[in-house]
């Protein structure tokens, strides 16, 4: 075990994967000499050389398109997109190509690429360094979507992603890259996809979150506990595959659900969770489902604290559901 920040854990996960398998390589903008703008790839080019930690020209479609070609050939590329906000030039490659290669070829051309991208607000990044657009990718058949919230999960989910057989969009909550530290297992630590993490057990309300919203929800649970409200916190860890069983089981126990994410509410991932609960746990619900999310606006700069869900908003939503029935 080593005490690491989340970004350090990402770095160790990449290092471990590259030590395990010579076919694993990294490509992206400023990932080599500079070690990545967030230092996620620091030291890796020194250890593995410029042939395995590749500084590319500034083109996201180039990065993902070439990563796809490498994967088709049998390598295991991990592509870094500097910010999730800059992924759109590669959207065609991700949505039309990466997600569909296995399917459209009848299984002849599986295509396993991990696309890493820092996402989310809280760093005063304004419109283009703050967004949470995980729903686009979760909506696209053929992509897995993983979002860690702790250093241990960052390493464990990343190693699972690199060794998975399917394309993975790996979103890293940059707001808590360095805000939290935690014990991270050394060596080959893997966290399976599709298994939610029970962060805190509770009996009155279930709060579902992922990424940087997990610590926010956990803080809210502490506040609620002082008021006698017992909140259960579930960290989804992967949106695809989704641990539906854990989501449903929790609501069957508590009868109330609060869904938290930074992304805009309309067509956000919370809408899908709410629909699943309405379809499969309707008779367990004692109160309307609540969503605490970013607003249906672009991401603001000066007033990002207004846009982003915080402990007060989460706690307030939980209180409302508890009072409702």
């Amino acid at each position: 075990m080593t005490e690491l920040t989340l970004v350090q854990a990402v770095n160790r996960g990449l290092q471990e994967a590259m030590r395990q398998d010579p076919d694993v390589l990294i490509l992206g903008e400023d990932v080599g000499v500079n070690g990545g703008v967030f230092r996620a790839t620091e030291g890796l080019q020194k250890e593995f050389g410029p042939g395995r930690v590749i500084d590319t020209p500034l083109s996201e479609t180039g990065i993902v398109g070439t990563a796809i070609g490498m994967a088709l050939y049998g390598l295991k590329p991990v592509a870094e997109i500097q910010f999730l906000d800059f992924i759109y030039p590669a959207f065609d490659q991700i949505v039309s190509e990466l997600a569909k290669f296995r399917y459209r070829s009848g299984g002849q051309f599986p295509c396993h690429v991990v696309v890493r991208a820092p996402y989310g607000g809280g760093i005063k990044g304004g419109l283009y360094h703050s967004q949470s657009t995980e729903a686009y990718f979760a909506h696209t058949a053929g992509l897995k979507v993983a979002i860690p919230s702790t250093p241990a999960d960052a390493k464990g989910l990343l190693l699972t992603a690199v060794h998975d057989e399917d394309p993975v969009i790996f979103l890293e909550p940059k707001r808590i890259y360095r805000a939290v530290t935690g014990e991270v297992p050394d060596g080959d630590h893997r966290v399976p996809f599709g298994k939610a993490r029970l962060v805190r057990e509770g009996s009155d309300v279930s709060i579902f979150a992922y990424g940087a919203m997990v610590p926010t929800a956990t803080d809210a649970a502490a506040t609620l506990a002082l008021e006698g409200i017992s909140a259960e916190i579930i960290d989804l860890r992967t949106l695809v595959p989704l641990d539906e069983r854990a989501v449903i089981a929790s609501v069957e126990k508590t009868g109330r659900a609060v869904i938290v994410h930074e992304a805009a509410r309309f067509c956000g991932f919370g809408g899908e969770l709410a629909a699943i609960l309405a379809e499969k746990a309707f008779y367990s619900l004692k109160a309307p489902i609540a969503r605490v999310t970013g607003y249906d606006t672009p991401f603001p700069y000066s007033l990002e604290h207004v846009y982003l869900p915080n402990t007060d908003r989460v706690a307030q939503a939980a209180r409302t559901t508890v009072r409702a029935g």
Partner: protein, 359 residues
């Protein structure tokens, strides 16, 4: 002298004797070109009869495709667009497999998942084609980077059209290829039309090949109606790639005799006289003329080649049409390596609706 002409000339001077088209294989090339043409004409009528859903013809591009396919080796990787059926045939895909895909039956290697023409044949390293334009270009470069990493002695070739030279991935792909000096051949079949848009409205560049200069490697214009010239050009590009000299952009100038696809009517955007003029340089007729001149072929033998091609096409089509549709359950396979619980749930829902194996 334009950059392209300069590139073409310097290319001439580097002509390699081993790159000459083997004379003994000209008749073989002719047979493939005829088969592709016969298939093309048959498929257009099949689509009109509602027996296949779509078709994108290649008539006019047979020499470009067959010449390029002959120049590549079996270990090389092919990144096609959706018009490269002749390349797949030359590399050994049975005509029947092609028709299985066009019909979308249970024997289709791609399990009936894609529209006609979007082939994938892993056994000949013919990568799965998609409809978005140009996306295969960066992918071919990525595979070339993997070739470099593995130190393999092969090359990749990306096929695309004149329209694709305006795409994001053309720029990104050629730029990466130049920077990393990859063993990639960019084979542009400039058939003069991107659906309704003529070549001169695609770019102000005098040629498409000259765009290579901006990426720091050679661009070559070749007469795409001349199978031997195409062969030689691709062969030389392949030799450069294997020698570590990096990528080449080849512009094979051809003319699309037919529509872009069965979904458009070219009379809306071009004069038939232009088509007739282009047909004067029909690649099949040109090759036939040299074969006849060299006494490799006479009219009787030629008729037999066309007859055999028609019979082959008829047999492949009949076999493919007898096959059932893929299983309903197959809709849910290959989304991921294994079915997720949600997909299992939806598969059972679909099986409940459609029953058993087929609707």
């Amino acid at each position: 002298m334009t950059e392209a002409a300069h590139a073409a000339r310097s290319h001439e001077t580097s002509r390699s004797p081993s790159a000459e088209f083997p004379k003994g294989r000209r008749l073989e090339a002719y047979r493939w070109m005829v088969l592709a043409r016969v298939m093309d004409e048959r498929c257009l009528s099949l689509q009109r009869q509602g027996r296949i859903g779509f078709y994108a013809p290649l008539s006019g591009q047979e020499a470009a495709q067959v010449g390029a396919a002959f120049a590549m080796q079996p270990e090389d990787w092919i990144f096609p667009a959706y018009r490269e059926v002749a390349v797949a045939l030359v590399r050994g895909v049975p005509l029947r497999s092609v028709f299985d895909q066009l019909v979308g039956n249970a024997s289709d290697r791609s399990k009936g998942r894609q529209m006609p023409n979007h082939f994938a044949f892993s056994e000949i390293r013919f990568v799965s084609a998609s409809s978005p334009i140009g996306t295969q270009i960066t992918q071919a470069v990525g595979a070339s980077m993997a070739i470099q990493r593995r130190k393999d002695r092969i090359a990749t070739i990306a096929f695309f059209g004149d329209g694709a030279t305006s795409s994001n991935d053309f720029h990104a792909g050629l730029n990466f290829a130049g920077v990393f000096r990859t063993p990639t051949i960019f084979f542009c079949q400039n058939n003069q039309w991107a659906i309704s848009l003529p070549r001169e409205r695609q770019t102000r560049s005098a040629t498409l090949a000259e765009k290579a200069a901006a990426y720091g490697f050679p661009g070559v214009v070749v007469d795409g109606n001349d199978v031997a010239a195409v062969y030689r050009t691709v062969r030389e590009a392949r030799e450069r790639a294997l020698a570590g000299d990096g990528p080449t952009l080849i512009e094979a100038q051809v003319y699309r005799f037919g529509p872009h696809s069965t979904s458009d009517d070219p009379r809306r955007y071009r004069e038939d006289s232009q088509v007739q003029a282009a047909r004067q340089r029909d690649p099949i007729a040109l090759l036939k003329a040299t074969l006849v001149q060299d006494r490799v072929l006479d009219e009787a033998a030629d008729s037999k080649i066309w007859e055999e091609a028609r019979a082959e096409v008829a047999e492949a089509l009949a076999g493919a049409e007898k096959e059932p549709l893929p299983d309903v359950a197959s809709v849910f396979e290959d989304v991921f390596a294994a079915l997720t619980p949600r997909l299992e749930e939806q598969r059972d829902e679909a099986l409940g609706m459609h029953g058993g194996h087929r609707p």
